[in-house]
């Protein structure tokens, strides 16, 4: 449907734009970038920061260009000494109620407020009045909330509600004392928070951050008694380069491995190995369910944010979740059992670090189910991609110039099916590659299941496996997840297998991934596509592309686990979930 065109005059240039276009978008068409702060194209309009004000002739006051739609004959001035002064004043007022510690802040250099203040020309701070004072909330395993750094733009509130459907955050109080928190100011872990960390991603400052684990890792590395093992999730290699100025989408597996060796890790393993193992176990579980063991659909369980969501919002669907541990937890388990046995190391002396694109993994690592004994966790510390980037910089490693390294055996070899775990649809695609062979007993006639790559967030389709049409669903972002979950509950359509990832785009858009480079918005679909592209290119470049063909997997089954789906495999590689309080409102 063609929309009516509206004629406007922007900075003296006449243009026609479709009805309903905002001033900001219209100006963008002329190459005019109006500064902004609370605005995010994927979220609803808040119009709360007022940074994007423009002068509309005849109005008598400046209007926010993000939320005002053009009208016929509108004359807009986006730039003048007065408008620039007004924007500078607005940013100054935000700064006046904000911390004065940029140099020591986690977001130094990547802070949107800092960047904006510089761009707007704030060169000194005029008012030293009262500033808001709130305690920092650090009780969560994953997410730290620091209301003093908050500028009340409301992006976290919106992402939590509109992308994740969790609605854990809200602004409380009014005026000077307003702060963002869960209901009743509850701690993050005691609220309906699912620890996905998207609030961290969209926060322009450092009001939300991951709970830091770098201190524990440095300590372990400097202890000669401790054997420090590290594993890196599939999506790290696709994003870590961004932290060192590499073009987004540059695969950096080899350089990452070399950097980890220089940091002093005793063994560098690949979470991909865990992913291949997950696929073998999950394909087995799926076929057992398909052969009548039910319940169907089976839902993937790799994403800990999704698992938290399941336990707090849809606990009645817990039987549908695959009991397979996540690739991280599978690999950590094997590091302290299989690898310890093979090397003769005392599991108590092994310190397992996992680099994850995710902050919910920090929570997963502390779940009692993932402890070897009440004192020994399988995963000792989880670092986000951001934390690892910082450690590499802190150590003084020129990442971009590093030669390529290789993962250590036995937990370092993986197939291309494992690499694509890091992007939406990847786990399902890897499962289908395996299941196709298991069902037909013949080598799969195809490896790419592009129809499940749900870049838009939600996809439902049928995939032929043997003579069976398998009904599959893929969702990323839990608002999309809810749509599939409600369909399961309604029971009108029979799905066979569903992949759900908590974060937009899957792990490539995880809550622990690098903040985007300057000029690129958070969660930019193009950025996520580039990261995913890196994973698909790694998959394509590998000779091994199916989890079953991974000889290291065969070896662990032969030597240690007595084969797929056995009692021992079950004991070590599977887990369980339970309903948790407080229950969220869907």
């Amino acid at each position: 449907m063609n929309k009516k065109l509206i004629n406007v005059l922007i900075d003296g240039t006449a243009m026609s734009v479709p009805e309903g276009t905002t001033i900001m978008d219209a100006a963008e068409g002329l190459g005019i970038h109006i500064p902004r702060l609370c605005y995010h194209p994927d979220l609803s309009l808040a119009g709360s920061c007022r940074v994007c004000v423009v002068d509309v002739k005849g109005m008598g006051y400046y209007m926010p260009s993000c939320s005002v739609k053009v009208w016929e004959g509108m004359e807009i001035q986006t730039n003048s000494p007065e408008i620039r002064q007004a924007r500078r004043d607005i940013v100054e007022l935000l700064l006046d109620n904000h911390n004065w510690d940029c140099q020591t802040c986690e977001r130094d250099g990547s802070c949107e407020l800092q960047n904006l203040a510089y761009t707007m020309g704030v060169r000194r701070r005029h008012f030293e009045g009262e500033r808001k004072q709130f305690p920092i909330e650090t009780s969560s395993h994953s997410v730290v909330r620091d209301p003093e750094r908050c500028i009340l733009c409301g992006r976290c509130v919106r992402v939590c509600a509109e992308i994740q459907g969790v609605n854990n955050l809200s602004q409380h109080g009014r005026g000077f004392r307003t702060y963002v928190a869960p209901a009743h100011g509850a701690n993050m872990d005691d609220s309906v928070c699912i620890q996905c960390g998207q609030c961290i991603n969209v926060c322009p400052t450092a009001a939300f951050l991951e709970k830091r684990s770098t201190g524990d890792v440095w300590r372990a590395l400097s202890d000669p008694q401790v054997h420090v093992v590290i594993q890196t999730a599939p999506s790290i290699r696709a994003a870590i380069g961004e932290g060192f100025g590499l073009e987004p989408g540059t695969p950096a597996t080899g350089r990452m491995i070399t950097a980890l060796r220089r940091l002093g890790f005793d063994a560098v393993f690949d979470t991909n190995f865990g992913a291949d193992l997950t696929i073998v176990e999950e394909a087995h579980e799926f076929l057992t369910r398909l052969e009548g063991g039910g319940p169907l659909p089976m839902i993937t369980s790799c994403s800990p944010g999704w698992i938290n969501f399941l336990e707090k919002f849809y606990p009645e669907l817990i039987p549908h979740a695959s009991t397979c541990k996540s690739p991280m937890s599978m690999l950590s388990t094997l590091a302290k059992t299989y690898y310890a046995q093979k090397t003769g190391l005392d599991p108590q002396k092994i310190f397992v670090v996992a680099v994850m694109p995710c902050v919910a993994k920090k929570f997963e690592a502390r779940r009692p189910e993932h402890y070897m004994t009440p004192e020994i966790p399988y995963t000792d510390a989880v670092l986000t991609t951001r934390e690892l980037i910082w450690m590499i910089k802190c150590y003084g490693i020129s990442f971009a110039q590093l030669p390529d390294g290789e993962f250590d055996s036995p937990l370092g070899l993986s197939s291309g099916a494992a690499d694509i775990f890091g992007t939406t649809g990847g786990v399902l695609e890897a499962t289908l590659r395996a299941a196709a062979e298991l069902v037909t007993g013949k080598p799969a006639d195809r490896l790419d299941f592009t129809e499940v790559r749900a870049v838009e967030g939600l996809r439902e389709t049928y995939v032929a496996i043997g003579d069976r049409a398998v009904h599959v669903g893929v969702a990323n972002g839990l608002v999309n997840g809810k749509i599939l979950l409600d369909k399961i509950k309604e029971g009108k359509e029979q799905f066979h297998v569903i992949e759900i990832m908590a974060c937009p785009g899957g792990c490539v858009g995880g809550g622990g991934q690098p903040y985007p480079p300057a000029g690129v918005k958070v969660l930019d679909p193009e950025l996520l596509r580039k990261r995913a592209g890196a994973l698909y290119s790694i998959d394509k470049s590998k000779v091994l592309r199916k989890s079953y063909e991974n000889p290291a997997i065969e070896e662990v089954y032969d030597q240690f686990l007595d084969g797929p789906g056995t009692e021992k495999a079950h004991e070590l590689l599977h887990t369980h979930y339970h309903a948790r309080e407080p229950r969220g409102i869907r």
Partner: protein, 180 residues
């Protein structure tokens, strides 16, 4: 109207019902029939406060569940409006007039004496739950300045010295009631 289908809904509903009163629960059910149940949130909160005198976390969570509005949102709305109180109020509300006439006649000294005696400040309630201290902006009896109101009783031309005596009258009433 969205369907409620939490796994443990009967338990959640029972707890929510117990935290509120029958008429309030009934009212929320009526609100749920409308096309925009969430738009009735404020009127529901009015009813809850009218009955309980304040909005406790338990009541707010109950409203959230029965109205199916996220708890963070309910708590956010409740904490935004000055009218809504999140803490229980005392048996007696002390309103000290800080209007111009009372102020020039020494209302600030009276207020300070009340705070010293009770160990609370504006908006707070004593630990024993007897008094809540509030500021009034002219009670319309400037001829009697400085004025304080306790409950609905007006105390005219109060001096700081009289404060302990006045407060004692109310404490005595509370003690008598407790004894009887």
């Amino acid at each position: 109207m969205s369907t409620i289908s939490t796994d443990n809904w009967s338990q959640i509903e029972a707890e929510a019902n117990a935290a509120l009163t029958e008429p309030i629960v009934q009212y929320i059910h009526e609100c749920r029939q409308s096309s925009e149940p969430a738009s009735h949130l404020i009127s529901v909160l009015h009813k809850v406060q009218a009955h309980f005198g304040f909005l406790g976390a338990k009541q707010l969570d109950a409203v959230a569940q029965l109205l199916q509005v996220p708890a963070a949102k309910v708590a956010g709305v409740a904490s935004f409006y000055h009218y809504f109180r999140l803490q229980p109020r005392g048996k007696f509300i002390i309103n000290i007039c800080l209007g111009t006439a009372c102020y020039v006649k020494g209302a600030d000294r009276v207020a300070q004496k009340v705070m010293d005696e009770l160990g609370i400040t504006w908006g707070e309630t004593t630990k024993d739950g007897v008094f809540t201290l509030e500021a009034a902006r002219c009670l319309g009896t400037c001829g009697l300045a400085p004025v304080i109101m306790i409950g609905d009783v007006v105390h005219p031309t109060v001096t700081p010295d009289q404060v302990p005596v006045i407060l004692e009258q109310y404490l005595e009433r509370v003690r008598k009631q407790a004894g009887s």
